[in-house]
Symmetry: C2
DNA sequence: GACTGTGAATAGTTTCACAGCC
DNA sequence: GGCTGTGAAACTATTCACAGTC
């Protein structure tokens, strides 16, 4: 392989902040501003201004000294970097409470994602509708993933089903998984898995609550 | 309180992995194992073994060289550190699809969290029931938070309502917020805010999809 | 004068590698 | 011999501070 000129190594930490900047920029445009400085962006996103500038500098030099960043251009560059200039077809597996809520969520369309299929293992749920889609049986995953060219799957099944569902999805060619099930998923390195875990988040919050309590107790008795 | 000898500074990165270890340890117990080595824990959690050991060493020295960690003891130590030896009362604000799904989620009880109140701004939803609780109006937040001693709130409202709801919660004394709304929340430093953002997660997955595509294209044309 | 872009300094995290204990 | 606990090394990320540009 020929090594491309651009070093193309955006740090992970930066990647995870780009969606935030993008959202802020949408707000900034809606307020009619054409340019924005790193200071303002920092203020609105709760990120240190130097960090904002460094993050954005990984995309290339799209700012103007003395002026700031042109909002439209910056939005485009971030979108391009995040691969949002194309549409990705998304499948949701698991049509329980959460799967149902996700299927009805309106936020997908506005930014490059399109829910293209719903799956469940339960025959009694197959055929139900949400957002103009019929729930299909998970046995149909291989055919539907291929037909609809699905790249991203959201797992919203119970914990016990998650690993098997993931394997079926991966076998069918899915390369990205967002896992809402409270269960670790094993996947080969070429598949990206991200997890969203309510219980983990609450436990982390609990840690900081507990620590605050301990600090206050210490202060009170000093 | 006397200041304890232990320096008590568990790194954030470690804190965010403790819930994972805890979940793995539950599985290990269920399989009847009394002890577990860092290698096995590493294997099951997808974390490097040295990292497991370093993480656990922040809790104190609870392992035995040549043997491993006693599972029960380790679970207790992690739970204690995470503040899970007490119950936390949780409120859910926003009784739309997602709030509904969260209110019916069974996973809370098993690990120290108890949903103690549901709120919505919409009068037509007030009075609806889920999981044995009636939805109350958000004007009741101050009274209910105090009465039920609620420490953690989950925001599951539309984006536009999130900041105002957060402020009401914080004014009422809530110290931890888990935000599901696609909107940044501003809060004073003594309040912990964590966010769960579907759209952000999908965009991050999109970045890695896009990058893989680019790498493959480059390889194909070498 | 305002603001970006970035080296250099600092802080935080991961991984290595091995001494020490069971 | 197996496995923990941890300094030291390597890596990653954040922040500072300022030269360079408009």
């Amino acid at each position: 392989m020929v090594r491309v000129a651009k070093p193309r190594t955006i740090p992970e930490a930066t990647v995870s902040r780009l969606p935030l900047y993008l959202r802020i920029l949408v707000e900034v445009t809606e307020q009619g501003n054409k340019t924005v400085s790193s200071d303002v962006l920092a203020e609105l996103s709760g990120v240190n201004a130097a960090k904002v500038r460094k993050d954005l500098s990984y995309l290339g030099s799209y700012g103007t000294r003395g002026v700031g960043y042109e909002v439209e251009l910056l939005m485009f560059q971030i979108s391009r970097e995040l691969g949002l200039t194309q549409d990705w077809a998304v499948a949701i597996v698991g049509f329980g409470n959460l799967g149902h809520a996700l299927a009805n969520y309106k936020g997908f369309g506005e930014r490059g994602f399109r829910v293209a299929a719903l799956f469940d293992v339960d025959e009694s749920k197959v055929g139900e509708q949400a957002g103009g889609l019929k729930v299909q049986h998970i046995d149909d995953i291989p055919a539907v993933v291929k037909e609809k060219n699905i790249s991203i799957a959201i797992i919203a099944t119970p914990a016990l089903a998650a690993q098997e569902v993931a394997e079926r999805l991966i076998d069918a060619g899915v390369k990205s998984i967002l896992n809402f099930a409270p269960q670790l998923i094993n996947a080969p390195p070429e598949v990206s898995v991200r997890k969203v875990d309510l219980s983990t988040e609450l436990q982390i919050l609990s840690f900081y609550l507990e620590r605050t309590k301990a600090l206050e107790a210490a202060r009170a008795s000093k």
